[in-house]
């Protein structure tokens, strides 16, 4: 490429001389490459190439569902399952995470309650049985501002989360909310698994 060897006269631009050095080769090539790549990518994408965010999301959902089934199986929220799940340590660890995101805003991270009732004492509102816990998680308590999580959470998650809530009273929160509702006996262990009884 020819280089125009002339420079501007000394005085023309407040004394700034402009050299006509050729553009560095590496710069030219990288620029050309990015432009070619960019135009092809944009064209390819606008023509419908690649996965849409929605397709990617659905794939992610499917992979996740598999993982969850592998970890927890498929559970139904009946009394025996909930009671048995209370002692499933892996599941309870996972549920503490889930509880942190869905329930902690109103029930506090340790379950001690703030806007919502204390879940770590022996007193319960609208609950006579562990399946009632699942019912409340599913439907919410509209009049008290609690949302229902049906749809957002799977049945397996609702089952395990109920178990998590049920076992919270093993660790009463310090400084928790005052007792509300009726006092209930601690949840009985499932009859066919006597080994799971807590001391």
């Amino acid at each position: 490429m020819t280089v125009d060897g002339r420079t501007s006269p000394e005085s023309a631009h407040d004394g700034i001389v402009q050299r006509h050095t050729p553009i560095p080769r590496w710069w030219k090539w990288l620029f050309a490459l990015t432009v070619i790549w960019g135009l092809l990518f944009a064209l390819w994408h606008v023509m419908g190439g690649g996965t849409t965010p929605r397709e990617a999301y659905e794939a992610e959902l499917a992979a996740h569902a598999e993982r969850r089934t592998a970890a927890y199986g498929t559970l139904a929220a009946d009394e025996a399952t909930i009671l048995a799940s209370m002692s499933d340590e892996t599941a309870m660890l996972g549920m503490s995470n889930l509880f942190g995101s869905k329930c902690a805003p109103c029930h506090r991270a340790d379950g001690g309650g703030s806007i919502g009732p204390n879940l770590t004492d022996a007193y319960w509102l609208r609950v006579g049985n562990v399946t009632d816990i699942a019912h409340i998680i599913r439907e919410g308590v509209a009049v008290k501002g609690m949302p229902g999580w049906e749809g957002a959470l799977s049945e397996t998650q609702i089952t395990l989360l109920s178990a998590y809530v049920a076992q919270l009273q093993r660790r009463p929160a310090s400084g928790g909310k005052r007792a509300e509702g009726e006092r209930l006996e601690p949840w009985a262990p499932p009859p066919d698994e006597p080994g799971e009884v807590e001391p």
């Binding site: 402009q18 050095t21 806007i115």
Partner: protein
């Protein structure tokens, strides 16, 4: 005032003229004063993030209201005034002509300062348009545009009386900045006023988002980059006493940026409810911008190569060179984070904050400091007061900038990784939002300390400049320059056609273009250059924005989505006025960890009544688009807004107790609804007075509060602003509940007509 008549009998006779530098000194002082104020606001914001009680329950200094003061004062007050100072100084030298009008310049100066004063008063009072970097109330928008026009007229008129025919590269950058920023600002600020300081934007939802990030990114390029590249091209060779490395590279640098820049902004919309084609274009062009951005760094650094001893001796050069290095790093990182998969990780995190501050603290700040130190002795016509203070400022600024940027990059990465982490059962490991907040808090402290160090340096600059000014001679002499009436035309004759007998026509054309003779001719025709700039940016803008604003399929209609009720609209205006968008996004992206955390992903059709759109760009707090589904408790929201730590231990959200005291203005609702109506929001069926309807809804919310907690003194909250805000929050994201992903009416990333997928 005119020093030399425009027409000369003998074009070679040398004429003397005086430079008018009075304005330069004023703009310099304004820049550093506003700069300090803006930086201090920034430091206070940084401290509020670690000690939330620092808002002292005062609305005006609460994060959401103070943040626009920080950004606007620094953009327009610091960067803007510094740009004007540099332009008014350098164009007179580069064009060999006295400034067209000092009086016009004075008008420009005072009107510009008035806009910033007004902004610094109205923004803390909550008068904002709620779009990032476009917050100023509409009368201020008008005044700012007028002030910019005065500036443009002065510059163009000075160009018209120039004695140097060919414009030097610095002037191309100035010219592009002046033209393009003006157009961007006008188009992005179009709004329907319905009161002295209130307005609703002409665009809504996804269309407005497209306009906003076209503007936001364009503003960063044409107001926060181009002026400073122009300065680099003038002040760097001057200070180093070296010739510019490459004129050819400068040409490619300039035009590649002008042509590509406005296409890049849409990378801000990747993964959002804006159509996928728009984000993809943004990503592709951002990658293409990689080399053009670095061209400035290459051209600058290779210009000072060989100026060794001078560099050691001259702190001005330290600032200018360091500015280029920071710019290089920042420009390297930009294309990287606009790659979709990287963007998915770091968008909404502190990474963005670090990236921006690397650019503004490092590049813009250092460039301004260097130029101010270079100008001070020349404008005040005395030696700089203290070289030692300058040297200290350099080190404080460098250490401060690095101390700011690195911890915040780290915080951003941590946030990105922790937000998406899931355990083996697919549960979010950090489901409790504040876990992540608590973890990055120490990094926030380091950031605040870094900011303080940086500010300390800027204080030294102010003191140094003031003391230099104090020592100026009793009467400043105008610098006399001498130039021929018409400087010798230095465009060489076109190089002879090469011997290209055996090649096709296009090769011949390419060869002709590559020889750049045409550009030397263009440089003599500023209007032709301006026209070319306008054509390329109009092309980039129209291709992106027209489909977004005109083609419905870019925001597929969702039947269930209805306009806000008058009370919700008033609540939304409070949300905007308090600047909630500074910390909360309203855009759940289609990623499992987000839908798990926040609820189903956001669809473009849900935002058609959102003026201004509030998608946000940063999640200091969680996303709020589905908050109405996720947390419908009135009691929770009232308690939380009054004192966030009462519901959320460790929260860094400020308290908003005044919302429980200030009253809703029911009378103003009718005009707000009427304005929305005029913009096409279907309020026709609204039966009765907007204020009456709002009162009724307000009473229903008070009832709900009583149901939730009969002991709460709910009656005290009647007619209070909190009720309107809660009404809006409870409505958020509830129009479509739990829509199945396979619902075809709710395509995300839908293509414009004809784009089969």
């Amino acid at each position: 005032m005119t020093a030399v008549p425009a027409a000369e009998a003998d074009p070679t006779s040398r004429r003397r003229f005086a430079c008018d530098d009075r304005l330069v000194g004023r703009f310099m002082l304004a820049a550093i004063l506003w700069g300090l104020l803006g930086l201090l606001a920034g430091l206070y914001l940084a401290l509020e993030l670690v000690v939330p009680a620092l808002n002292l329950d005062l609305p005006a200094i609460t994060f959401g209201r103070l943040r626009p003061v920080h950004t606007n004062v620094l953009i327009f007050g610091f960067a803007g005034n510094a740009f004007f100072a540099a332009v008014y100084y350098s164009i007179q030298r580069l064009l060999e002509a006295r400034l067209f009008s000092g009086r016009l310049g004075g008008l420009h100066f005072w009107l510009w300062q008035l806009v910033i004063v007004a902004a610094a008063v109205t923004l803390p009072l909550g008068f904002t348009q709620g779009r990032e970097y476009g917050e100023l109330a509409w009368p201020l928008d008008v005044a700012l545009a007028v002030a910019w026009l005065l500036f443009a007229v002065n510059v163009f008129a000075t160009i018209a009386r120039r004695r140097v025919k060919r414009l030097y590269v610095a002037l191309w950058f100035y010219l592009a900045a002046i033209i393009v920023f003006f157009l961007l600002y006008i188009v992005a600020s179009l709004a329907l006023p319905f009161g002295a300081l209130r307005s609703y934007p002409l665009y809504s939802g996804a269309g407005e988002a497209a306009v906003q990030w076209w503007y936001g990114f364009g503003m960063v390029i044409f107001l926060l980059t181009f002026p400073f590249l122009g300065m680099m091209y003038y002040f760097l060779p001057k200070a180093a006493g070296r010739p510019l490395f490459s004129y050819r590279l400068a040409i490619v640098h300039f035009w590649s940026l002008v042509i590509l820049a406005l296409w890049g902004g849409a990378h801000h919309l990747l993964h959002t409810a804006a159509p996928a084609w728009l984000g993809a274009i943004g990503m592709a062009f951002s990658v293409m911008l990689w080399m053009p951005s670095l061209a400035g760094v290459v051209n600058g650094l290779l210009t000072v190569r060989g100026a060794g001893e001078r560099i050691v001796a001259e702190p001005v050069l330290w600032f200018l060179i360091t500015a280029l290095v920071f710019y290089g790093i920042s420009a390297f990182g930009g294309p990287f984070i606009s790659i979709a998969s990287v963007n998915a990780l770091i968008h909404y995190t502190d990474w963005t904050i670090a990236h921006v501050h690397l650019g503004v603290l490092g590049f813009v700040g250092f460039m301004i400091f260097g130029v101010l130190y270079w100008l001070a002795p020349r404008v005040f016509q005395t030696d700089l007061f203290s070289r030692r203070m300058t040297v200290m400022h350099f080190w404080l600024a460098a250490i401060g900038a690095l101390m700011y940027v690195f911890p915040i990059y780290a915080a951003g990465l941590l946030e990105g990784l922790m937000w998406r982490a899931t355990d083996e059962g697919g549960n979010l490991v950090h489901g409790r939002w504040l876990e992540v907040t608590e973890l990055v808090a120490p990094l926030y402290w380091v950031r605040a300390a870094g900011g303080a160090v940086y500010i300390l340096g800027a204080v030294l600059l102010l003191v140094n400049l003031l003391l230099t000014r104090l020592r100026r001679p009793a009467s400043l002499k105008e610098e006399m320059r001498e130039a021929p009436a018409q400087m010798e035309d230095d465009v060489p004759p076109p190089p002879p056609e090469k011997d290209l007998e055996n090649v096709v026509g296009i090769a011949r054309t390419i060869d002709r273009i590559a020889r750049l003779h045409w550009h030397q001719l263009w440089e003599r025709r500023p209007l032709r250059m301006a026209r070319a700039i306008i054509i390329v940016i109009a092309l980039a803008s129209l291709i992106q924005l027209l489909p977004m604003l005109l083609i419905d399929s870019n925001a597929p209609v969702i039947e269930a989505v209805e306009p806000y009720t008058p009370l919700e609209l008033a609540g939304r205006d409070i949300y905007v006025a308090e600047g909630c968008y500074s910390c909360h996004s309203q855009m759940v992206r289609p990623m499992r960890h987000e839908t798990e955390r926040f609820g189903s992903y956001s669809r473009a059709g849900e935002f058609i009544y959102d003026r201004p759109f509030q998608w946000g760009s940063r999640r200091i707090g969680p996303d709020l688009h589905r908050i109405g589904q996720r947390n419908p408790s009135v009691l929770w929201h009232v308690t939380h807004l009054r004192r966030p730590t009462e519901t959320s231990e460790g929260s860094i959200m400020p308290a908003f107790p005044w919302l429980l005291e200030e009253k809703i203005d029911y009378e103003a609702m009718q005009s707000a609804v009427a304005a929305m109506s005029a913009l096409g929001v279907p309020y026709d069926e609204l039966s009765g007075d907007a204020g009456e309807i709002a009162r009724e809804q307000g009473r229903a919310i008070i009832e709900r509060l009583r149901d939730e907690d009969e002991t709460y003194p709910a009656a005290d909250l009647e007619d209070r602003k909190i009720i309107a805000l809660v009404a809006y929050v409870l409505r958020l994201g509830t129009d479509i509940s739990n829509v199945e992903p396979e619902d075809d009416g709710l395509l995300i990333g839908a293509l414009p007509e004809g784009g089969a997928r």
